[in-house]
């Protein structure tokens, strides 16, 4: 009996009228957990009942606590007939199981009914008392923290990154059970909601167990997905990155302490390793030049031996899939100087014995300089795998897409790479899958990024016979992961970062996809507790990683020493350097010396799935680049269908890549981040959508233009045609350079053939000792070739490509867009943000079912959607749409569905230009910045955001920050604001013409008898603003200008909504509009009840919409997730104790508690 769950039903409000006769409701509440149910009294004849119930207590296993949601049902009492259900609230109590998260859930929850939507609200209080459970064979994993955020959460530091965790559970879909024929749609929906809630609880628990066994205490980058396989079942699967996180409790973020609640739940000791920092090993550095084995200086005495032998997965009883759990490194390295002690997967909170390896890497460079002959690492075995038709390696495609092989030399880098690879490999090679779902890393973590690796496979679904043994699904994913792993190997990489998995299902065919970025990581992070960065938001807060007190400082130095590994080369370009062996390149590519350090080779383009690393130096701004593609497919069944699809896939990928590459060149950029390629399957078509954020990395060579080449050179008119196209392309490139503020270094000279600029020559000379002169010439050769990106228009396809290339509408002035977390070149966010979801479904008529027509339709659909977004958000200009996440689906034949979730964040245009250096140093401008934040806060606390399109809003913001803001009014938006204003005036004029005056104009009537009775009219109009906490939502992991002071737990919600009166609810749009609004409302309510004021890393994983207009019916399933947090404005933190700043948030909680 390890836990006691307590719930109290306080009150309800805005209940629907259930009794037509009295226009009132006799409501009561059932509270159910597991198999236990309690009831409140009936509160007669009220729409705002005050139950104020006793505490209902459930004594349950912690396993159940993790799996089950608390289910609250509001009913209308009926003496004569059955009680009518008003609606339900499911409360996930997981956040209460972790002592560091929330301690109480208290607040108003929308009462939700799958048929009627939200019907009133209910005020609930929930608490959990956990008892200490030392049973090491337990099934629960209470206390393991889950984060959707794909970076180390802001108020933690990663002591250890353990690696990949995955799990999947399957079940029969209640919708397809026989019983569904006889039960009501409501019962069926609720069964489904409940089942999925249970399954995700179970999944989370099982993953938690794995994490505990690995010795971690948290999962970062937790990605959970549902596969609605229809007849064959329901799969819930999740992947994540297991970490050991320490709460930051020193240094700059003193605030975090105030929010750390004392460990009220002692049972969760397994997961917190409190203040490990204090006991951490202290390293001293080896002299950098020595290649002698560095000695581990000190290994901390571990007070108790690890209770479980790491290699024995005895405590694991999870029946379903698993990666090898005994991932703890246990080999002792052969290379001298690397000492590895097993990190213990201890279940108790004792500190881990800390192994040491770091200094080795440090000594590396001298070694390689001395050209120690290292064993050559070969990748030949993988090439066969890579060419499997279903899976395509991105770089293969690069090569295929017309990039000449630049063939390069550089004898020195090879050995070094190999050595490095060797080093780090051992750290990872014990792992079955050295994958990381993180997309953003602590500095120094990512050493090289090789390129995108992806794999897809087409499977035919079959019924899952035994839910407890989901072997087939497991095997499928295993296969794909193996493939990814081998691709990464082929790229000379030992790890995959920014890893994600997805599926697309149509009838019985399922496409499984996985993608990531092959990378070489710093092994140090894999083994020991010495990550020096954690909660400091290293990207946005314009400051270097905070120096922490005590032992951390040492690590900080250590880390910088590590970073110095690349010697004098700036670390900002390290990740661009090729990880693979130049002699054994897995594919032909053009290599040049890095434009920043001039030491290492870099490819001419770099595609990745990760976020732009903090240290990357970018020229200008980035932008969203999308490739869209539609391919018709014959309708077919079974294996024929699957074969047809898998035959189409490589061509689609190839074309998407060509499009991406063309668009990248057209924007004068050379790298893609956050690349996400989605291929959706429908009955008669395949949809492909690739989105990424293009940037110009200064480390990579300047992209050449695009050259059009015709096939029939003799034809004069044809030549002319080509010439005009060429001109248009050149114009577009020039325009884009301007638009994105890209000022490439004077590469143009080189292209024309001028000698290499001075500074470069020097660097080359410096290096030439170890290089043959051949290198130089070869390098130049590749330079010359760089411009030779040739598009041949010999067929209609190419013409079409070029057209689509040129028809992409430019983003309007004042807007930027990206699908990554941050936009390079923009730092000074104003803090105003707007998260939104937009969904469009397009019905194709049969007439245009050709590939071209289809493509155009699809492109238009996406472009129009973007245009609409720009228009709607015009009042936020200048602003950037961040994390633009497109999801495409083919819900039915002839239907294309596109869903977008993103956040619009406005920024201050002028400051960007005035203070470009802000990103690097916490400059003098900081005070000004803070001032602005505080002012903004004032404005917000009084009245929150200004209504868009109101001229007063303009003046407001102008006043708030007159010096720097005033000029920004003179921006694109102004015209729009004006226009709205004009529209308004026009309307006014219109009304006046009609001979009536709006009453508002009569405000200055004087009272002739002022001495009359003075009725003090309370001017304070109570809007009850305090009664509803404002909850911000963002798909990003941070909110600009603020600091996350506490993570309250993961939000993972699944809703079904159905209607049988579609027309009455405003058609499909009305139905979905209200459903999405309801989902937002429920997410906000849950966050507020946890005491939070924001959701970060929010995403809408699933939005499955089905309609049957003839029957006047529609159904929609939505799955959302995110991290509930408390944030505080940067300015508050310094001025007032943070508890004060979130007092408003807590007030709702305290109200109920006392």
């Amino acid at each position: 009996m390890p836990g006691k769950l307590k719930a109290k039903i306080v009150a309800g409000r805005h209940l629907p009228v259930m009794d037509r006769a009295s226009d009132l409701t006799d409501a009561f509440v059932e509270v159910k957990f597991g198999n236990t149910t309690f009831k409140t009294d009936v509160y007669h004849k009220s729409l705002n009942p005050q139950w104020n119930s006793e505490w209902f207590k459930f004594e349950v296993d912690d396993e159940d606590l993790q799996d089950e949601p608390l289910q609250i049902t509001v009913l209308d009492h009926d003496t004569y007939s059955a009680n009518d259900a008003i609606g339900k609230v499911y409360i996930d109590i997981d956040p209460l199981l972790c002592s560091e998260a929330a301690t109480v859930i208290s607040g108003w929850f929308p009462i939700y009914d799958t048929i009627h939507g939200i019907r009133g609200e209910i005020n609930v209080l929930v608490k959990v008392d956990l008892f200490n459970d030392l049973n090491r064979f337990r099934q629960s994993s209470c206390g393991v923290k889950f984060f959707c955020t794909t970076s180390i959460p802001r108020c933690y530091r990663a002591a250890l990154v353990h690696g990949f965790v995955e799990e999947l559970v399957v079940n029969e879909d209640p919708e397809y059970q026989w019983i569904d024929r006889i039960r009501t749609p409501r019962a069926s929906n609720e069964a489904r909601q409940r089942l999925i809630s249970l399954m995700s609880g179970e999944l989370q628990r099982k993953i938690g167990l794995k994490v505990l066994e690995m010795g971690g205490n948290a999962v970062v980058g937790y990605l959970q997905c549902f596969d609605l396989e229809g007849e064959s079942g329901l799969v819930v699967r999740a992947i994540g990155t297991a970490c050991t996180l320490d709460k930051l409790s020193s240094g700059t973020s003193s605030n975090t302490n105030t929010h750390t609640h004392p460990n009220t739940a002692p049972a969760s000791n397994a997961c917190n390793s409190p203040s490990k920092d204090s006991k951490e090993a202290v390293f001293s550095e080896d002299p950098p030049s020595s290649s002698a084995p560095p000695t581990p200086l000190k290994v901390l005495p571990s007070s108790s031996p690890p209770p479980i032998s790491p290699s024995k997965p005895c405590s694991r009883q999870s029946s379903s899939s698993d990666t090898d759990l005994s991932l703890t490194p246990k080999t002792v390295r052969t290379r001298p100087g690397i000492f590895l002690s097993p990190s213990s997967p201890s279940l108790s909170s004792e500190s881990l014995p800390l192994p040491l390896i770091g200094p080795i890497a440090h000594g590396l460079r001298p070694v390689s300089r001395a050209s120690t002959p290292p064993p050559l690492f070969t990748v030949q075995s993988d090439s066969a795998v890579m060419r499997k038709c279903v899976s395509f390696n991105e770089d293969l495609l690069l090569a295929a897409s017309g990039m000449g092989s630049g063939g390069s030399a550089g004898k020195e880098a090879g050995p070094l790479k190999t050595l490095l690879r060797q080093q780090t490999q051992t750290a990872l090679e014990q792992r079955e899958f050295p994958f990381f779902t993180l997309t953003c890393f602590p500095p120094g973590f990512l050493i090289h990024a090789g390129g995108v690796v992806s794999a897809r496979s087409v499977k035919l679904l079959d019924r899952i016979h035994n839910p407890d043994e989901p072997e087939t699904r497991d095997a499928w994913w295993e296969e794909i992961r193996q493939e990814i792993k081998s691709h990464a190997k082929a790229l000379g990489c030992h790890a995959v970062v920014g890893y994600s998995e997805s599926t697309s299902i149509c009838e019985e065919v399922c496409i499984l996809s996985a993608s990531g970025t092959a990378a070489i990581l710093n092994p140090r992070f894999m083994r020991e507790g010495c990550l020096d960065v954690g909660g400091s938001d290293h990207r946005l807060s314009r400051q270097p990683a905070p120096v922490m007190g005590g032992s951390d400082r040492v690590e900080g130095e250590f880390s910088s020493a590590w970073l110095g590994f690349e010697d004098s080369s700036p670390t900002s370009c390290g990740f661009c350097h090729i990880p693979y062996d130049e002699f054994n390149m897995p594919f032909p590519a053009q290599l040049t010396y890095c434009y920043q350090c001039r030491r290492q080779k870099v490819p001419d383009v770099l595609f990745t799935t990760i976020d732009l690393p903090t240290e990357a130096v970018v020229n200008g701004k980035g932008c969203l680049i999308q490739a869209r593609l539609c391919r018709l497919k014959k309708k077919a069944q079974g294996e024929v269908n699957a074969t047809a699809i898998s035959n189409l896939l490589p061509f689609m990928e190839y074309e998407l890549h060509t499009q991406l590459m063309n668009k990248l060149k057209l924007r004068c950029m050379n790298a893609l981040f956050g690349l996400r390629i989605q291929i959706s399957v429908g009955e008669n078509m395949l949809l492909g959508l690739a989105s990424a954020t293009g940037v110009y990395l200064t480390a990579l060579p300047a992209p050449g233009g695009i050259q059009i080449a015709g096939k029939a050179p003799g034809d004069l008119s044809y030549e002319q045609h080509i010439a005009t196209i060429q001109k248009r392309i050149n114009d577009t490139i020039a325009k884009n350079k301007e638009l994105y503020h890209i000022h490439p270094p004077e590469v143009t000279e080189e292209v024309v053939g001028s000698p290499i600029p001075e500074p470069r020559q020097r660097s080359r000379l410096f290096r030439s000792q170890s290089e043959s002169s051949d290198d130089l010439s070869e390098l130049d050769l590749s330079h010359g070739k760089k411009d030779a990106f040739v598009l041949e228009i010999d067929d209609t396809d190419a013409v079409e490509d070029i057209h689509s290339l040129l028809t992409d509408a430019a983003t309007p002035t004042g807007f930027y867009s990206c699908n990554t977390e941050i936009m390079p070149g923009i730092q000074n966010w104003t803090g105003s943000l707007q998260m939104f979801t937009s969904v469009r479904v397009f019905r194709l008529s049969n007439a245009n079912l050709t590939n071209q027509g289809l493509n155009k339709t699809f492109v238009d659909l996406c472009e129009n959607l973007l245009k609409s977004l720009y228009f709607k958000l015009r009042s936020m200009v200048p602003c950037c749409l961040c994390h633009l996440n497109f999801t495409v689906a083919v819900p039915e034949e002839d239907l294309i569905q596109v869903a977008v979730t993103a956040v619009a964040m406005s920024f201050d245009k002028d400051q960007t230009q005035e203070r470009p250096g802000l990103a690097i140093t916490k400059g003098s401008g900081e005070t000004e910045e803070q001032l602005q934040f505080s002012l903004e806060l004032c404005a917000e606390s009084s009245a929150s955001n200004q209504p868009p399109g109101r001229t007063s809003g303009v003046t407001d913001s102008g006043n708030a920050h007159p010096s720097s803001r005033a000029p920004s009014v003179d921006y694109g938006s102004f015209a729009d604001r004006c226009s709205t204003w004009l529209e308004l005036l026009r309307l006014k004029a219109h009304t006046i013409r009609r001979g009536s005056v709006k009453t508002i104009s009569s405000s200055e009537r004087c009272s002739p008898l002022p001495e009359g009775r003075s009725r003090s009219l309370r001017s304070t109009r109570s809007f009850g603003g305090g009664s509803v906490t404002v909850v911000k939502m963002t798909p990003l992991s941070f909110i600009p200008g603020t600091r996350v002071v506490k993570y309250l737990g993961i939000i993972n919600m699944f809703f079904i909504r159905e209607t049988t009166s579609l027309r009455e609810e405003g058609g499909v749009s009305g139905f979905l509009h209200s459903f999405i609004a309801e989902v937002f409302a429920m997410v906000r309510a849950h966050v507020a009840a946890l005491g939070g004021n924001a959701v970060v890393s929010y995403s809408m994983k699933e939005c499955v919409f089905m309609e049957n207009p003839n029957k006047n019916q529609a159904q929609c399933l939505i799955n959302v997730s995110g991290d509930a947090v408390i944030f505080a404005r940067d300015s508050d933190l310094e001025a007032t104790p943070p508890l004060m700043s979130c007092g408003q948030v807590c007030s709702s909680g305290t109200d109920g508690t006392t």
């Binding site: 939200i118 939104f836 979801t837 008529s845 929150s944 109101r950 309307l987 009536s996 009569s1002 749009s1069």
Partner: protein, 357 residues
């Protein structure tokens, strides 16, 4: 080939005021889009009609969903469905409850019943306010009336508390409620020249000085019903015209005070008895519930029109009424000074407000 579904939902609800106005004015989506296209064409904005259509649809849907909440504005502030910044909330409410004076003028004094609602088409064509908008405004009147009807406490304050309206708007609503309750005659041809604002002002005066609430502010309907006792007392004022001595004394006092000060002195002197009789008769008629309705028509016919035909200026009228009131107070035998002052104070300001072309 068509967009089957198109929605945009923000975490904070975005509201475009201009579109909100179009919606309130009863535009259909198509008309609203046309209006917006025209407006943008004027400004050379490069936005396609499709984008505007999509945006208008979204906004109209949002308003439609909010409308239910706007019927009970207090709900809007503590509902969870839409996250609307407080400023926008008050804007939404205020604009929703704003009404066209022309419309209000037509409905003023009528019973807020189904019958009246049926006649809204005529009102719409007469005032040029779209029928949809008329219906909304009428329903607003009715809703406010119903809620406030049974409440204790000051009318304006009640309206403000329940509908979260601005002071100005709440006062206008108070006037509407007051007129609807007392059913004053406002539709006669002779009253057509008076605007809603004129009546609203008068209503404010009546509420402030003549109702039950003027003396005791914790009674039901305190601001809707005129105080019976006061009206009863007014009967006694008749002595001012019935008692010949008093009438003469009154006249001479007024004449003495105004001599040389007004141009229309002669006309005033000649008409004094008529004018005084008119005012006093109106006062005594108020005692009869049915005659209360004729207050404004009586005022216009019996007092304002004679003055207007004699070309009094507003200043002269003001001066006259002031002295007319004070003179009566200084008549030694006149005992109903309190009632007189209370009566004349309101009459004076109402007459002055109503005295225009």
């Amino acid at each position: 080939m068509s967009l089957e579904l198109d929605v945009f939902v923000g975490n904070s609800t975005i509201i475009d005021i201009a579109v909100y106005h179009l919606w309130l004015d009863g535009y259909t989506v198509a008309d609203a889009v046309r209006a917006r296209v025209d407006c943008r064409a004027m400004l050379d904005c490069d936005v396609s009609a499709e984008v505007l259509h999509s945006d208008t649809m979204d906004q109209f849907r949002t308003f439609h969903m909010c409308e239910r909440l706007l019927h009970c504005p207090v709900k809007l502030s503590n509902q969870l469905l839409f996250q609307i910044p407080p400023q926008s909330q008050s804007m939404l409410i205020e604009r929703y409850y704003e009404f066209d004076s022309a419309f209000a003028r037509e409905v003023l004094g009528k019973k807020l019943s189904k019958g009246t609602k049926r006649d809204l088409e005529d009102v719409s064509s007469k005032t040029g306010v779209a029928l949809k908008s008329c219906r909304r405004q009428f329903d607003n009147f009715k809703r406010v009336f119903k809620v406030v009807e049974e409440l204790k406490g000051p009318l304006v304050e009640n309206i403000q508390r329940h509908f979260l309206l601005s002071d100005t708007l709440a006062r206008d609503y108070a006037a509407v409620v007051f007129f609807a309750n007392s059913r004053f005659e406002t539709g006669k041809r002779k009253l057509q020249y008076l605007s809603f604002q004129d009546f609203a002002f008068c209503a404010g005066q009546l509420i402030s000085y003549w109702t039950v609430g003027a003396v005791n502010n914790m009674v039901d309907d305190m601001d809707v019903d005129l105080e019976k006792e006061f009206l009863h007392e007014l009967k006694d004022i008749k002595i001012l015209i019935n008692d010949k001595d008093m009438l003469d004394q009154h006249k001479s006092l007024v004449c003495a005070a105004l001599r040389g000060k007004i141009k229309v002195f002669n006309e005033m002197e000649a008409n004094f008895k008529h004018l005084s009789r008119a005012l006093v008769n109106i006062a005594s008629k108020l005692n009869n519930t049915k005659d209360v309705r004729d207050l404004f028509i009586d005022l216009v016919e019996k007092f304002i029109e004679p003055c207007r035909s004699d070309r009094w200026t507003v200043g002269e009228l003001k001066l006259f009424l002031t002295h007319y009131t004070t003179a009566a107070l200084s008549i030694g035998t006149f005992r109903y000074q309190l009632a007189w002052e209370r009566y004349m104070g309101v009459m004076r300001s109402c007459i002055i407000k109503m005295y225009h072309e």
